[in-house]
Chain length 373, copies 2
């Protein structure tokens, strides 16, 4: 395949559509709403396809994402990082422009602050409480008395809407059994938190759980109202290592060009360094460490003998590990390679565009992605 | 210091000006021209200050940088990554717009290709040959007969202008003696390459060397016509670990906000994750590993007891390593911290703006930076 693009370039394969369909069908069958996390794509054309497939609203990781997707017409958005005072004026502007924005808190201090900000500005913020179901990062344990204190302080300018959790430790698991158990732990603990809140008199309309591995591994989702997942839309080598996709499902790759050789070292130098791949070495702790990514030919067939071990800003160094060959003859200067990323969110974030490969093999279309806060 | 910024935000301190002055004075005293590498800042306001201090032209790592800086009026640019066919039409457009652009090659194939492209399009490209002086990445060894073959093929639509090297392995050194020795190796081997080319009848006008550590460690630069360096403009923890700056010279930091706590783990959660810091763990192999960066208070005083060990996309997890305290009382939700980066080029690349701190303590100005290819 010859694409006639300046490299490095981020390629998006049509198989994304199968990934979207797979997750939506699964969650529809489990009887829950799906609110995809768009921090992976930061791209309107991708989010539109997720919504067209049946998603209900989106999840974002920054207010910049909320703003950009709202401007493009998406009106139901959960900002899934605990809010802090310096972001509330931004949230207020979005709310006043009629975005249905849901915020997240995990402390009494911020519950009070949000409620006060709402009163002062004549609005009422919809708020979820973050629940910790696996100890991997933030949130309140379901049995912690703090949970009820936070909910009690969501009044006046704030409305308690429900609970949210993210079992991020599922990324460290490797077997279907462990993943199913983690999905059940995420579900049951989050539902427990909701029940405790309801028993204390709080209506708990939303019970939101999710991560790509647990969403694809849950056996049932009783008591859950919505699931969130992000990276499934492209998948990546980390997800293949976790076992929730095949390498062949990965929709993202970086097209690069051979710029030189060091025959004495067995090196091929390319123009995809860490700026094009990110410094994410997510597969380093997995059974198969892909370095900075899996090296493939221009048609995305893996070249097992090329290891992407070193990266500088705009140089990738690929180590030939096979039997001795004439590297410059096999992979001449100017020839194309494709690198499948460890982590789609991190590699995507390095690029301003996706070059979308049409199924008929024509010229790629350009989809914009945004960045920053 | 209270900055009233939405976080995370990339702060640029006025001490950048001292870093600029230090390098320029040093290279002027050594009697060579300085061509700063603007891949670190990707910011016009920064490059203008480097030129105002005495720099002669700039070095770029992408043609996007060449284009952006040329549009802003900088007309002498070296693109210091070996050119490949898919970028030549872009280079041609810039040349035809009257940019004094210098390209780089390291193979006969590309020398021929560039020369042919020049003839076909009625232009003549100025070209340097990349020389390898430390075995760390690309380039031709000074004694390799290939050097003369490449030069001989730069004719017709290409003009051989000189040699260029980058002793990137200087980043792995730790002592002034080893750095000075590497600077001398970089100089002498590059000058050797130039002499061999001259002996074969090629005028070799440019002898370009450089990296921040070697530029700051060279004792003399006889035979060298210009030096390149990039990261010195901001410095970072990696450079402090190499020993060519003090931590107090670092001009870049990421302002972030405490969003939560996990008292049972001794964790403070902030809104600066890997998206704000990058995944660069450049200090990992150094004597002092700073994790994802050095944690400081809002006035940039280091907090030695807080280790930035874990990062998710928009969450940083700081581990308290000191005597037991009430973390939420000492660092309440909403309070500000600053993170000094491992690698200024990588952290900078995650942000669309610098918030420039004025020396009088007024409101920060916003300087744009660009990204992509």
């Amino acid at each position: 395949m010859s694409l006639n693009l300046e490299t490095p370039a981020l390629l998006l394969h049509a198989r994304m559509q199968q990934n979207i369909a797979r997750m939506q069908q699964r969650l529809s069958a489990l009887g829950v709403a799906f609110r995809p996390h768009v921090k992976t794509s930061k791209c309107l054309e991708v989010a539109r396809r997720q919504l067209a497939a049946g998603a209900q609203g989106i999840t974002v990781s920054t207010l910049k994402e909320a703003e950009q997707f709202f401007e493009a017409g998406i009106s139901d958005i959960l900002y899934a990082v605990a809010i802090v005072p310096n972001k509330l004026d931004h949230a207020l502007r979005l709310l006043r422009a009629d975005l249905r924005l849901t915020l997240l808190v995990e402390s009494v201090a911020m519950a009070e602050h949000v409620a006060r900000h709402g009163v002062q500005n004549g609005v009422c913020y919809d708020v979820l409480i973050e629940v910790d179901t696996d100890g991997h990062r933030s949130g309140i344990a379901p049995a912690d008395p703090l949970l009820l204190d936070v909910a009690a302080n969501l009044r006046g300018g704030a409305r308690f809407k429900g609970v949210m959790t993210h079992a991020g430790s599922s990324y460290d698991l490797r077997t279907p059994e462990a993943l199913a158990a983690m999905a059940e732990q995420e579900r049951s603990r989050c539902v427990d938190a909701a029940e405790r809140l309801r028993a204390a008199g709080h209506a708990c309309e939303v019970v939101s759980v999710g991560s790509t591995p647990t969403a694809l591994s849950a056996v049932h989702l009783e008591g859950v109202t919505e699931v969130r997942a992000g990276v499934y839309v492209f998948f990546d080598l980390v997800m293949a290592g976790v076992g929730v996709c095949r390498v062949g499902d990965i929709a993202l790759s970086v097209l690069c060009t051979v710029i030189g050789h060091r025959p004495d070292q067995g090196w091929i130098i390319t123009d995809a360094g860490w700026m094009a791949m990110s410094r994410d070495r997510g597969t380093q702790k997995q059974a198969r460490d892909y370095g900075y990514g899996m090296v493939c030919d221009a048609d995305c067939n893996a070249i097992a003998e090329l290891a992407f071990d070193q990266a500088n800003q705009e140089h990738g160094v690929l180590q030939w590990t096979g039997a001795e060959i004439d590297l410059a003859a096999r992979y001449p200067v100017g020839s194309s390679l494709r690198i499948v990323p460890n982590h789609a969110c991190a590699t995507g974030a390095q690029h301003p565009f996706y070059y979308v490969l049409p199924q008929d093999g024509g010229a790629p279309r350009k989809w914009q992605r945004f960045s920053g806060w």
